[in-house]
């Protein structure tokens, strides 16, 4: 079966890095031996890798330890600004790493939800968002009054009936003062 060189080339890097499974690696090894183009590609990659390593090693080779350590040690000895030390102290508490964190996080979350209304007045969970109004007291001063609630939005409606027979003020009857509905 003719193996597509493009497919081989795309896996050459992983093969050289030793990251392929044995069957895949073997397939590529055999192909590379037989295919000049892929063999050239493999050599190019190897040179790239080696050149990069060599270039960086050359630069790093003059890195003397003593002056380097002096620089690190000086940083250790110098006091960090109080803000950095405070942040270092606080940071592990903010970045959770263990499941045990779930407890305080949940508590804080719940408290946050409860306090949400302070920042978004009028925002409420579920049924508390209805528009229902409580009528604590009502006095129609002799007129009939009805209180009812619209079912969809739960809006309270107070209705005043202008009772024409009730023009006689001496009747002395007043609409009942009801406690809250």
């Amino acid at each position: 079966m003719k193996i597509d060189c493009e497919a081989i080339k795309s896996s050459l890097g992983a093969w050289l890095d030793g990251e392929l499974s044995h069957p895949e690696a073997e397939q590529i090894r055999v192909h590379v031996q037989e295919c000049p183009a892929c063999f050239g590609e493999k050599e190019q990659l190897e040179r790239l890798q080696a050149s990069l390593k060599g270039a960086l090693e050359a630069r790093a080779s003059r890195l003397a330890f003593e002056p380097f350590w002096d620089g690190v040690h000086r940083r250790i000895l110098e006091k960090s600004p109080w803000r950095e030390r405070l942040w270092d102290w606080v940071r592990p508490a903010i970045y959770p790493q263990r499941l045990a964190w779930a407890i305080p996080v949940v508590i804080v979350f719940l408290l946050g939800i409860i306090s949400l209304e302070q920042f978004f007045p009028g925002w409420r969970w579920g049924s508390s968002r209805s528009n229902a109004t409580t009528v604590d007291s009502i006095d129609g001063h002799g007129l009939n009054v009805a209180v009812f609630r619209e079912s969809k939005t739960k809006t309270t409606v107070i209705w005043l009936f202008e009772n024409q027979e009730d023009e006689d003020e001496s009747s002395g009857e007043s609409a009942p003062t009801d406690s809250s509905f």
Partner: protein
């Protein structure tokens, strides 16, 4: 008998600075190479590498041994390098100048003896580092770590916080870009 990294870390956690010094001695050059590969600027790389070890020292008590010490160290180094690069856009220093400066100052004795200091290799290295500098920080990090350390894709993924598949695709992309730029020289 040489102490393991973990034994040294435990001593550091108890406050023994000498143990930390030993860890620095073991890894300073390797970390420097990774940082230099990303930043392509010697002074900046020195600064960031020292900062890496300083941060490691400051947070050593938080290291619980869940990963290898060097993985943890490289993670600090790569994050600092990427942050540094994002904050400070700097034109890459010509590799050639730096090399000539070193040799002129007589500090390049080690370099003169280094197998990589013949002219052709020097030129390729120059071009290679310049080409790498054009990659994104994430691509630079994978190609440098793979080249220097021969770290597995799994380890590189742990360091960068990505999957092995992502490491593989970033490496493939980075190598392809470098081949395109440097084809005639390779």
């Amino acid at each position: 008998m040489e102490l393991s990294d973990w034994e040294l870390v435990q001593r550091c956690q108890e406050g023994e600075v000498a143990a930390f010094q030993e860890l620095v001695a073991r890894y300073h050059r390797k970390v420097f190479m990774v940082v230099l590969g990303i930043l392509n600027h010697r002074e900046d790389a020195m600064d960031v590498t020292q900062e890496t070890f300083f941060r490691a020292y400051r947070n050593i008590k938080g290291f619980k041994g869940g990963s290898a010490f060097y993985t943890w160290l490289y993670r600090i180094a790569v994050n600092l390098s990427i942050d540094f690069q994002r904050r400070q856009k700097r034109a890459p220093v010509e590799f050639k100048e730096t090399m000539d400066d070193l040799i002129d100052k007589g500090e390049g004795t080690e370099l003169a003896n280094h197998p990589f200091t013949d002219l052709q290799s020097k030129e390729l290295g120059e071009r290679l580092l310049a080409a790498i500098d054009e990659l994104t920080p994430d691509h630079k990090a994978v190609i440098v770590m793979r080249a220097i350390e021969g770290l597995s894709y799994r380890d590189i993924g742990h360091i960068l916080g990505c999957s092995e598949g992502t490491v593989m695709s970033r490496l493939h992309y980075a190598r392809k870009k470098l081949q395109e730029k440097l084809g005639p020289y390779l």
